[in-house]
């Protein structure tokens, strides 16, 4: 196996889980690897996990403490050039996904994103057409940057090692980071570290058995469940887009919650779908959910056709009322 550079960044001074997963993949290949870390506290974070690495590099400082294209691209370019490794593995976080394709252009490198496996023969696997088609490919071009999908690899156990060589990188930028916002004022959305994904489908906003819509009760049931279980909250695209069709909506569900063909593809261990009819465009985002259950009034819904492990043919309002008494 050719020499590899494991390129990571810090979050709050530590290498996040996605970084340890990328390190785990590099170690599983069995070849020589360098380690490079970028961000606040990068030198310390690198030393905590650099056991086994042939070379250790870091870029840190105020300019690189925040996630920003211009500075991240300059730092990553310097780290990759300093290592000289032909194969670069990095976690597919938003920070690196923003910066590394541009770095690939600067280095005349190839890049593949959303990589879910890499074998010792240099073949990678990833998905196309919004997780509807899987493919395996390899490239002769080097350098080759691979962004590894979080949740797709076992994490490496941190092993302390050598202190890094700290590179000096300068970069001009016209962009300042002003802060962060959470659109939902504290409500959950799709968190990668939650054990359960709860998806609310359009059925919550439709007429119920009594001929009336019960959006307020639906909102209370959903939010109460999410708060008690600390699960991720997702929705099907149809529910997100109902506002554009003049229908009743659950106001706390936004495009950030969207799972499926035009939304995210989370990787939770368990997923519970409610009032979602299980058609392919909505379910395609469930490709990587390991255990799937659904509650639906329609016994012939899409979930029944081999997409869920268990389908409860029942009224989600009634089930959720009972469920909330138990959790």
């Amino acid at each position: 196996m050719e020499k590899t550079l494991v390129l990571l960044h810090t979050v709050d001074g530590q290498v996040p889980q996605a970084g340890l997963e990328t390190l785990g993949l590099a170690k599983s290949l069995g070849g020589e690897f360098d380690l490079a870390v970028l961000g606040a506290g990068a030198a310390s974070a690198a030393q905590q996990i650099s056991g086994g690495a042939a070379g250790v590099l870091a870029v840190e400082g105020d300019a690189f403490a925040v996630s920003r294209y211009a500075t991240d691209a300059a730092a990553c370019e310097a780290l990759i050039r300093a290592s000289g490794a032909p194969l670069i593995l990095a976690p597919d976080t938003m920070r690196f996904h923003r910066a590394l394709p541009g770095v690939a252009e600067r280095l005349s490198a190839a890049i593949d994103t959303h990589v879910v496996s890499l074998n010792s023969e240099g073949a990678v696997e990833r998905w196309y057409y919004r997780q509807r088609i899987e493919a395996s490919l390899r490239r002769a071009q080097r350098p080759w940057i691979l962004l590894v999908e979080p949740g797709s690899q076992p994490a490496a156990a941190p092993q302390p090692g050598a202190a890094p060589e700290i590179l000096s990188v300068s970069c001009d930028t016209r962009t300042k980071i002003e802060g962060f916002s959470t659109p939902l004022a504290g409500e959950q959305t799709i968190r990668p570290d939650a054990p359960l994904l709860f998806v609310a489908g359009a059925g919550w906003t439709k007429k119920q058995k009594d001929g009336a819509v019960h959006v307020e009760e639906a909102a209370n049931l959903i939010l109460d469940f999410v708060r008690r279980t600390q699960c991720s909250l997702g929705s099907s695209k149809s529910l997100v887009d109902l506002s554009g069709e003049g229908q009743a909506v659950l106001p706390f569900l936004t495009h950030l919650h969207q799972v499926g063909q035009t939304g995210s593809s989370p990787r939770h261990k368990k997923g519970l779908a409610t009032c979602c009819h299980g058609e392919e465009p909505h379910v395609v985002g469930w490709r990587f959910i390991q255990e799937r259950r659904a509650i639906n009034l329609d016994p012939n819904c899409g979930w029944v056709r081999g997409k869920a492990d268990v389908v409860y043919v029942a009224d989600a309002f009634e089930v959720m009322r009972e469920l909330l008494k138990l959790i």
């Binding site: 996630s67 294209y69 938003m94 996904h97 923003r98 394709p101 541009g102 690939a104 252009e105 890049i111 994103t113 073949a123 998905w127 196309y128 057409y129 919004r130 509807r132 088609i133 899987e134 493919a135 395996s136 390899r138 490239r139 930028t173 016209r174 300042k176 002003e178 962060f180 916002s181 959470t182 659109p183 959305t189 990668p192 554009g244 495009h255 950030l256 919650h257 969207q258 035009t262 519970l272 490709r287 799937r292 016994p299 029944v304 056709r305 081999g306 997409k307 869920a308 492990d309 268990v310 389908v311 409860y312 043919v313 029942a314 009224d315 009634e318 089930v319 009322r321 009972e322 959790i327």
Partner: protein, 266 residues
Amino acid sequence: MPYQIIVCGGLAPDPLQTLEPVFDPARPSLKNELMLPAVFDPWAAHALYEAGHLARQHPGSVVRVVSLAPKAKLQQVMMTVAQKLPLELVALDGPGGGFTDAAAVAAALADAIAAMPDLDRSRLLLFGGWESATRGAGAVMQRVAERLGITEQFLAVDELSVEADGSLLVKERIEGGRHQISRCSSPPVMLAWATGNLPEPPNHPQTGMANMRVIMPALQKAKPVALEPAAEFLRTALPSVIRQTRVVKDVPAAEIAREIAEWIRQ
């Protein structure tokens, strides 16, 4: 202050279509690819709606769409897209499927933009989708921008506002369902859009008629682009895992709730 807004966007199969790969190691594709109904790529479409909205707020702004796709399919899709907002089209006639190489696509798009004779780069806002519904790499727009020398780049953008001093306030999606808020002092910038906040604009037939007068000649002049394969595909396939679904019917809600609660606790 007017902007020159360039939206890069390709075509994607209509999301409701059944897709089946045809494996050819040199050029993998979809079965009946040219027969599948196509739409303007959903993420690029969001970028286009945001571009139209921004152009209306800043009179004198121009929206140009640069698209690499099979010319005949592009013409069909533009019949719909052109009714949404005023735009100019720069068409590149080439393969547009998911298995084309992101770097080659980026090079073709960047060359087309760089060749625009009246482009004022100091007013340039380069828009596109953060990923496509085909390749889904999320790597094209950054490469296009780099080739054009634009180093202020934003990915998964949901909101852009122009402040009184002309600076650009950008909200990008980051992990954990949060937005990062950045301020860029001036163009040129690249924004790869997520869904944004704007609905699809209603069709406006008069706009469509006016647009088609310039789009049709642009399609006729579409430059042919050949994308050489850069990767060796070893396999393309539909996922084969089908679950043995257990259907629970005619069971009281309380019992179902007990089973789900136990499953959650495991």
